[in-house]
Amino acid sequence: MINLSRRKLLVSGLAATAGASSLAVAARLAQKYGLVPPDHGGIYGLGETLTYASQRLLTRHSLAREFPRSRISPRPFPNELAPLTEEFKRLQAGRFADWRLSVDGLVAEPASFSIADLKSYPSRGHITELACEEGWSYIAEWIGVPLSRVLNLVGVHPQAKYVVYTSMERDTWDSIDMADALHPQTFLCYGMNGNELPVVHGGPLRMRLPRQVGYKNIKFINRLTVTDSLKGFGKGLGSAAREAGYAWYAGI
């Protein structure tokens, strides 16, 4: 009996040590390969981390489903807008000629782009579904310049990990990892269904990420900041939406 319990003790001790050390190794590896979201803490951190890590492993390069032109929704639903600011109204009155997108942070040459500048680069389009976390969805053609194009123009430092994007709407900002920032379907979007992007849909410039739900697709983008850490932005959780309780990663 003594032998048996000693063996049991040894086996369970070894199992506990192996379990603890493999967890530590897994955490180290996850950190190294960028599988830990900025909002990994708190009671929902486990779920957020499992979702982000598994989707990063499975979907790093996968393309969002694209649809034929015949399936474009006849009436795309524009979600509610916060009241437009005076500054926005002034820019709108000038047909957004003075709108500027500034790009700063970990870049070789910080720069500022007008909508005309962005339109001078080869435009790309995809017909993809915009799905809201509430449950509704529609299909539209989204036209713009791939975010990767703009990032290449300014020259991103190799230690860059995230792109923070800020809206002209008050307290509205978000961020994405480099996998999403360099993804070929991630657009700085200025057109929709063959026309200019309407203001109700985020014109003159909207971040369009077809692999994440609506609230990551922020309207009225006027600033990009490339960074290696999200700690200095807001509460360090990665987005204003997260500070309001909505997950940073929204691929689900």
């Binding site: 779920g47 499975l58 979907t59 996968s62 489903r65 809201c132 509430e134 449950g135 309780g245 689900i252």
Partner: protein
């Protein structure tokens, strides 16, 4: 004959007939530890998923078929409940508070725990023969009469027989298998199909279900079926003796009355 799912007790643990001729209550093994642990983890996750699912649902209580659907398109049907969004026309003069942030976080976290627990249960069930011994009905056991009886007995509010305290009847086996093999996989699949990133890697997961909105509608109906299962399951536990059956799922042993002549 050994009763499925139970272990025959060694002879010396039986009460000698000389001591008493009255019915004696004793504890017979019923559920294995892994079945009990996974049962209660799943229970907690199920309630979390149900509550947060309802919270997410009220932000858009309209359902569609196919790929797309918004308040600008005709719904397949709309639930006659208020909504947490002012953009949804409900006929109610008020809008409920938005609870989607934590509801989504808890929904996905509970789903992760439930799925990992389910995987553990399935691996265990296959390795130990739990499915074969306790859930699959062999041809010898199965008869339409037995199936009919297991239907009509609870409808007449008849308590289950002693034998059913230590094993599952035909209807129970078929129901549990249906939930484990059909409903759980379908609710996971239709849930994952709604994930835009998951769908980018596995587009067939959405197209096979008929589109993003079809997946959402299927998810709703399978959840309803699971909620119905939960209701009937608890009703049956109450009919069979709530504390006896619940105690068996906690301690692993069930009190059975043995007659000694």
């Amino acid at each position: 004959m050994a009763i499925p799912g139970s272990v025959q007790l060694p002879a010396e643990t039986c009460v000698p007939s000389a001591v008493s001729t009255a019915p004696v209550t004793k504890l017979a093994p019923r559920h294995s530890a892994l079945v009990r642990v996974t049962h209660w983890i799943t229970t907690i996750c199920f309630f979390a998923l149900l509550l947060t699912g309802i919270e997410i649902l009220i932000s858009h209580p309209r359902f569609y078929w196919g790929e797309t659907g918004t308040v600008l398109t005709a719904p397949l049907f709309q639930l006659p409940i208020p909504s947490s969004r002012a953009t949804v026309p409900t006929g109610y003069g008020y809008v409920l508070p938005d609870q989607n942030g934590w509801s989504r976080a808890l929904h996905f976290e509970a789903a992760w725990i439930a799925v990992l627990t389910g995987l553990l249960y399935v691996v265990f069930g296959l390795l130990t023969g739990h499915f074969r011994k306790n859930l699959l009905t062999s041809n010898a056991d199965f008869s339409w009469r037995a199936l009919l009886t297991s239907f009509t007995k609870p409808l007449r509010l008849e308590r289950p027989s002693e034998a059913e305290a230590s094993s599952y009847n035909v209807l129970q086996r078929l129901t549990y298998l249906f939930v484990i093999v059909i409903l759980f996989p379908l609710v996971i699949w239709s849930g994952l199909a709604m994930s835009l990133a998951f769908a980018s890697a596995f587009p067939w997961s959405v197209t096979l279900l008929g589109g993003h909105q079809s997946a959402r509608t299927i998810h709703f109906f399978v959840s309803l079926a699971l909620a119905l299962f939960l209701f009937v399951h608890v009703a049956m536990v109450c009919l069979a003796g709530f504390w006896n059956r619940t105690g068996a799922m906690i301690t692993g042993r069930t009190a059975t009355r043995k007659e000694h002549a």
